[in-house]
Amino acid sequence: MIAPRVVAILNTFSKTASLVVIVIGMLVLAGWVADVETLKAVLPGYEPMKVNTSIGFIFGGLSLWLLLSRSGNRTARIVAGILAFFVVVIGSLTLLEYLTWREFGIDNLIFADPDADMSGGFAGRMSPLSAVNFTILGAALLILITRPGKEPYSGVLALVAAFASLLSVLGYIYGVAAFYTFYTYSSVALNTAIASIVLALGILFVRPERGIMSVITMDTLGGMMARRVLPWAILLPFFFGWLRLKGQELGYYDTGIGLSLFAVSTMVLFTLLIWFSARSLNGSDIERKQAENEVHLLNQGLERRVVERTHELQNAINELGREVGERHKAEDSLKVSLEELSRKNRMETIINAITGSVHGSVDLREVLSNAVKSIKENMPGVDFIGVFMIEDKNAVLMADSGYPEDVYEKIKVIPYPKGLTWKTVEEGKTMYCPDAENDTTIGQAGRALGTKSYISMPIRYDEKTVGVININSRTADAFDKEELSLLETVAIQVEAAVHNARIVEALRATEKENRSLNEELERRLEELTAVNKELEAFSYSVSHDLRAPLRAIDGFSRILLEDYSGMLDEEGHRLFSVIRSNTLNMGQLIDDLLAFSRLGRQDVVPLEVNISEMARQVFQELQPHDSVKTPKFTLNHLPTAFGDRSMIRQVLTNLISNAIKFTRDRGAEAAIEITGHSNGRENIYHITDNGIGFDMAYVDKLFGVFQRLHSQNEFEGTGVGLALVKRIVVRHGGRVWAEGKVGEGASFYFTLPKDEGGLS
């Protein structure tokens, strides 16, 4: 509310005033030092300013200057205070001198006043008014310096001093000595009076925003009015007073008229002044009121807008609140579905872990351990889990999530038919008890675990319960339908693991058996090889040593016949021939046997064989030299076979020689026919003759070793030929069989592989 411009102007005035006062004091002091009258008294003949007065002004001015420009500095304030105090001291001591009529020796302390008698009073002593002024101004300064907030007092004191000095100045101007001279005492010098006014105003304008000055400096109509009117209130009476005084002196009018004129002109001018001021103020006031009105309207608009905006904001806040609410709701539902998702995730983790484990391992214990671990980690309700497998009459704990030691000892093997586990085994279905505290099935061990709800689930294999999964929770009703069905899935996986384990077990057993069988086989093979070697040595020996004696028997009996034939009759010759024929038979038998036994050891060297050509050659070699006895031989086209040439030749030889032998009684009608055809991968050949045939009742004996259907007298033979045929054909992967009828003939069939693939 303070008009800052006014304050600034007044402050500047104060500061300037302090400097002006100092300068005046210094000039006077210099005048005293140099004894220059002009400096001391301004105008010649005027009363000079005393030394003490000048010092008082210097101190007062310095004090004011320090107060204004160094107020923040503590030392400056102390110095200012001391200076003000000196001003008070100077004034009050002088005043005391006047009152007590005594001389303290302070008046001419520095310089002696040469004009001792001029003023008729006390040389060098300042006037009583100046003394009062210094006392008052010093006090005002002290108040300003030491008592902030007491500005009204310093203001009043300063005003008093100012008006008192103004009176002295008016005395000089109006030429009334009484205004500046008191009795005989020294009068107030003009410069002293001016300096006093300046110092007093300077002091008055210190802190113009406070104290009595605040009325003037306020930015209000009153302040404005004061600032406009006050200068005139001082200047106009001063000017009209001077006019009246001069007019009276010049004799234009007497005192009465002069006073009336002064009063009237003062009234008129003040009335005008106030009227103009009031008008100007009214204008300002109207403007202000209009402005206020506008401001009021603006305010109203603003208020309305504020209300509207507030309303909008409220709506927005409400809307936001609603949105936040909805968002919270959405978040809640999201949280629920997230929970659901993580639950599903955990369940899937369990299934994956177990499935992976079942497919990755055939070790049942490992699979069960993994299953237990995964369920414990991923199903929050599970506090304990144990998997039991049934072994005979015991449920054996195979995997668990860590039962306490004492419980573990109790349940690591549960004998039949104890407790929940065996109940599950017998019933073969999952039991879920959500409220274990009121359950009678749960045993001591379960109670020791602090079970509030439990699951007991069978593991089935091959339609039997082979194990049980027990789950205990310390929370009542810890599992929902979904978790139960998950656990059912787990049980199915565990069943798969049991299945795998059983298969592996069976495989291992088979493998072991196979190994021992193999070992046995190898052992037998070694034995066989040894036997075979012995047999070989045996047949070698037979080949050499059995024939030599026969040769000796035949040879020497022949020598006997040659050398001593004259000594033998016909009967002797016959007997020798019996010896010889038996010897030859035995030779043949040994040859056949050796061939037969050799066949078992000989390797088959498979090659393509032209059976037609081979049969033709064999027949040619075997046919009797007597053409009359030669049977009719029909050789049809035969398919090519695959086998060992020498062996197949043996087959053909034996079969064709048999056919010739058994048809020789037919004479010219004897006929042998060989035919053959392909059948799948094999060829079937048959040799048919119209010989003596055989009784089908003995067909089984035909291919046995040493089996003969005819006596040696009828048909010679060793009984090895057909056995040899069978052995060779069988070694080629083929079959041999015969058909016949006594007196009508016989057919011998044999098969040979068509190509290399048919050879087994």
């Binding site: 070698y540 050499h544 024939r547 030599a548 040769r551 000796a552 040879g555 020598i559």
Partner: protein, 147 residues
């Protein structure tokens, strides 16, 4: 006994009956004069390489043919055959295996070692006589040995 440097047929045979039968067959064809008989493989080698009791013999006086049985005491026939055929001084002497063995591997092995002929002694005496006669005639009369 024949002069050991004039031997035309060396008969290596441990069985005395076979030896007698063989000699009889040779006699029938009048070729049994210069036959020398040894009764095991070791003696055969001594004779052939002029060692042991036969040091007075000259190795170069080769027989026209050696009739060699395979199953012999001490050193077997195949070994004897191998020694004969691996020595330059004797390798050109014809060797005929005359044995009871019809074993394929004996036949194959003998031919591999360089036998001139392989004859299985027949049990039938007539055939035996016939076989020995033929081979005696062939090797002593028909065959022309190297100088």
């Amino acid at each position: 006994m024949t002069d050991i440097n004039q031997v035309e047929i060396l008969l290596v045979e441990d069985n005395p009956n076979d030896e007698e039968l063989t000699l009889r067959a040779l006699k029938k064809n009048n070729i049994a004069n210069n036959v020398h008989v040894v009764r095991d493989g070791a003696e055969a080698l001594d004779f052939i390489f002029a060692s042991g009791p036969y040091t007075s013999r000259r190795v170069e006086s080769r027989p026209k043919v050696i009739l060699l049985d395979l199953k012999l005491p001490k050193v077997d026939g195949l070994e004897v055959l191998k020694r004969i055929k691996s020595d330059d001084r004797t390798s050109m002497t014809p060797v005929v295996v005359l044995t009871s063995s019809k074993e394929e591997r004996d036949i194959v092995e003998s031919y591999k070692l360089g036998v001139s002929s392989y004859i299985v002694k027949p049990v039938d005496f007539d055939k035996f006589i016939q076989a020995v006669s033929q081979l005696g005639l062939y090797w002593l009369l028909l065959n022309q040995p190297p100088g």
